[in-house]
């Protein structure tokens, strides 16, 4: 059973600085990994490296069977979903338009958009411009996007922040679904509680190094 993600001695430097230093990381199908650590320790960078959004410049890495240091990543990227600190939407488009854009780019059934919007509770707000909708609404839209793309690898960078309790259980459902389909999840959080009861394995990062694995 090949892992979905595998980093061996992976390193990342940005701005002439070593941000991640010989990190070993592995995630198998159906697994949920938790990542914690102080501010600026390298959690987001780790997720970005896994998603091939930041290139690793030391060690080796595999993402869904593709060598992270080669062009093989281009085709597999589409099976990765990333919910980051700040919602990645096109502010001048409406909520519905944002999702349509996603579907048209990625290919898929536009009919699902309505359903998904209802599921995340935005069925009535479809025509509001993304940048004039509330932060949590934008977060919910990202959940909707992930529902539309149903990815094999789900990367959550404090995805619970900004969501009300109802919407938070939405994220839980998302995690369950991904895991259920044999996918994997990596979630970053500062709240030990969040991680404890959701993750199979936990990584603690300090200063760009994995200091603890449980």
């Amino acid at each position: 059973m090949t892992p979905l993600v595998e980093l061996v001695g992976a390193g990342v430097s940005l701005g002439g600085r070593v941000i991640l230093d010989s990190v070993d990381f592995s995630l198998g199908p159906g697994q949920v990994a938790g990542v914690s650590g102080p501010n600026g320790s390298g959690k987001t960078t780790l997720l970005r490296a896994i998603a091939s959004l930041t290139r690793i410049d030391a060690g080796d890495g595999m993402l869904l069977g593709a060598d992270l240091r080669s062009d093989e990543v281009y085709p597999v990227r589409a099976s990765v979903a990333f919910i980051g600190h700040i919602p990645a939407l096109i502010g001048t488009l409406s909520l519905a338009e944002n999702l349509r854009h996603v579907v048209r780019l990625r290919g898929g059934d536009e009919a699902r958009i309505r359903r998904v919007l209802d599921v995340v509770g935005l069925g009535e707000a479809v025509s509001v411009r993304a940048d004039s909708s509330s932060f949590g609404t934008q977060r919910r839209l990202e959940v909707a996007r992930t529902l539309l793309t149903d990815p094999r690898l789900l990367l959550l960078d404090e995805a619970f922040s900004g969501l009300d309790s109802a919407a938070q259980s939405l994220v839980d459902a998302l995690i369950e679904r991904t895991v259920g389909n044999g996918g994997g999840v990596v979630m970053v959080s500062h709240d030990p509680g969040h991680l404890r009861d959701r993750t199979d394995i936990q990584y603690r990062i300090e200063d760009g190094r994995v200091v603890e694995t449980a």
């Binding site: 430097s13 940005l14 701005g15 002439g16 600085r17 102080p38 501010n39 600026g40 320790s41 410049d57």
Partner: protein, 235 residues
């Protein structure tokens, strides 16, 4: 003795001889003393092309090999190239002022295209100056360096094609009508300047290396630490 110093020495000797010959050669019949400018003008013009060629080479080499030294080669050569292009422009304009009565002549495509080339690489250097991250800087400027080298001949071609349709009042067919002594002096200068270029290139690359190491040390110091919560009250 270091390689750079040897080269600099050679260049000095060469330029001294070239300069001496140039100053003592019989001046050009038409232009008088001004024709001596050719001893600086032509060598620098030639170096401009050489230097930018090297920049292109370094850029492409970096794209293939991803070794910092190629980036340093490209950057250093571009700086020196810009310097010599500037000299070619200025000496040219002085010369033009003397022999044509005006510093610039739109009748000669070479002028416009030189100027454009000059700015292409100023842009290249400006780009480098704006980027702090060494890897990003290397990547982007390597790409620009590669694009630029395709573009220089394109500009030359288009501008020449542009002129060719209109009656050219050309400067000179070529240097052939120059007195032989002047020509010899110029050739010696061309060689001497080339050695000088190589010397400068070595020197600049050395400096660049030192700089990048300094940056590394500076950057790696930066880290986020735990806050001092107790002191919040009294700051």
């Amino acid at each position: 003795m270091k390689r750079v110093q040897i080269l600099l020495g050679l260049a000095a000797v060469g330029i001294a001889t070239g300069g001496w010959l140039g100053l003592n050669a019989p001046p050009d019949a038409l232009q008088g003393e001004y024709s001596r400018i050719i001893n600086v003008h032509v060598p620098s013009s030639w170096l401009a092309f050489l230097a930018f060629g090297v920049t292109a080479f370094g850029s492409i080499a970096w794209l293939i090999r991803r070794k910092p030294k190629w980036d340093r080669l490209a950057a250093s050569s571009a700086e020196i190239g810009v310097l010599f292009t500037g000299i070619a422009l200025v000496t040219g304009m002085i010369w033009g002022h003397a022999v044509w009565g005006r510093a610039w002549d739109w009748g000669d495509p070479r002028l416009a295209s030189t100027a454009v080339m000059f700015f292409v690489y100023l842009g290249y250097l400006a780009l480098r100056a704006t980027i702090d991250d060494p890897t990003v800087r290397a990547r982007r400027s390597a790409l620009l360096g590669a694009i630029a080298v395709v573009q220089v001949p394109l500009v030359y071609f288009s501008v020449n094609l542009w002129r060719s349709l209109h009656q050219t009042q050309s400067i000179r067919p070529d240097g052939s009508t120059m007195p032989d002594e002047m020509l010899r002096a110029m050739l010696i200068n061309v060689i001497a300047f080339t050695i000088l270029y190589v010397a400068l290139l070595y020197a600049r690359m050395g400096v660049a290396k030192a700089e990048s190491e300094a940056d590394q040390r500076g950057a790696s110091a930066e880290r986020v630490k735990p806050p001092l919560v107790d002191e919040v009250r009294d700051v």
